[in-house]
Amino acid sequence: SPGLPMVINTWGGPFTAATDAAYLALLESETSALDAVEIGCSTCEANQCDGSVGYGGSPDENCETTLDAMIMDGTTMKSGAVAALRRIKDAISVARAVLEHTTHTLLAGDFATDFAIANGFVAQNLTTEASAASCAQWKAGGCQPNYRINVTPDPAQSCGPYAPTSLNSSSSSAAAAYQSRGSPEGHD
């Protein structure tokens, strides 16, 4: 252990700006551990880090970027989180608002967006020229790879819209076997 205060996080490279921001904040006596986590993760949301955090990354099949975040207090074990948050950039700060202004743990989708706006956050488009272009290219290439299985048309060849194919009981678990995705889009 290097001693306290201390910050530790996934990944290096562009993520170390988050490590530094959180650590330097902790050197200020008025900064709490919760503040430091919010500052660190917000740094990545603003900088997009490696593209897997924040606006303009990982567009879905409709080319929309949605955000997921959680924050947890190690003393109270209370946690606040947002899932599939739409049109709000500051995901970790909205998660903290869930922690501090509700007794809930997780809000999702457009309802999380409504909660964020009611808590003073500004709605804005999370799509960038780069994410729109990469999504258009993906569609032009037949939407490969994707996360669809047991549907028609064949998801290994074609975009949707898809319709479910009937499954007999033995095929469903075999067909649902997890296929590792080598492409960077295959992970969170």
Binding site: S1, P2, G3, L4, P5, M6, V7, I8, N9, T10, W11, G12, G13, T16, T19, D20, Y23, L26, S32, A33, L34, A36, V37, G40, C41, C44, S52, V53, G54, Y55, S58, P59, D60, E64, T66, L67, D68, A69, M70, I71, M72, D73, G74, T75, M77, V82, A83, A84, A91, A95, T105, G109, C143, R148, Y178, S180, S183, G186, H187, D188
Partner: protein, 137 residues
């Protein structure tokens, strides 16, 4: 995905995760990031954990809850992380995962699979952040 754990000089801890999920996902898909116990988890009595990787798989195993409970059972941060990754590998040998674990005194470790996972830390009087590279299990 960034998952972070902060230890205040008083010993108070917090953890968090932020991500934009998996690219090309089905609209509405949510991965491990916002799931308490999967994206991150912390109990100030023992320590905290942060995770990244194939969220659709990882959220079924709650790897960060497992890692923190491993600390409570007396494992080192390194062993706690490795155990959590091995539990996923047993069922999904190809899973891409990364877990970073820190106890409430700042001892840390990490484990990963399917790629070379790295984590970053800065504490005490360190003048800069250090990045640790974790060979895949």
């Amino acid at each position: 995905t960034i998952s972070m754990i902060a230890l205040h000089s008083s010993g108070v801890m917090a953890a968090g995760t932020s991500t934009n999920g998996a690219g090309r996902k089905v609209p509405g898909r949510v991965g491990d990031g916002p799931i308490t116990g999967s994206g991150s988890y912390v109990d100030g009595d023992v320590g905290g954990c942060g995770a990244t990787g194939d969220g659709d798989i990882m959220m079924r195993f709650l790897p960060c809850y497992q890692a923190v409970e491993n600390l409570r059972l007396g494992m080192s941060p390194q062993s706690a992380a490795e155990d959590a990754v091995r539990r996923m590998l047993r069922k999904y040998p190809d899973v891409q995962s990364g877990i970073v674990v820190v106890d409430n005194e700042g001892a840390h470790g990490g484990a990963g699979s399917g790629w070379t996972f790295t984590y970053a830390y800065r504490g005490g009087g360190m003048g800069e952040t250090v990045v640790v590279s974790v060979p895949p299990i």
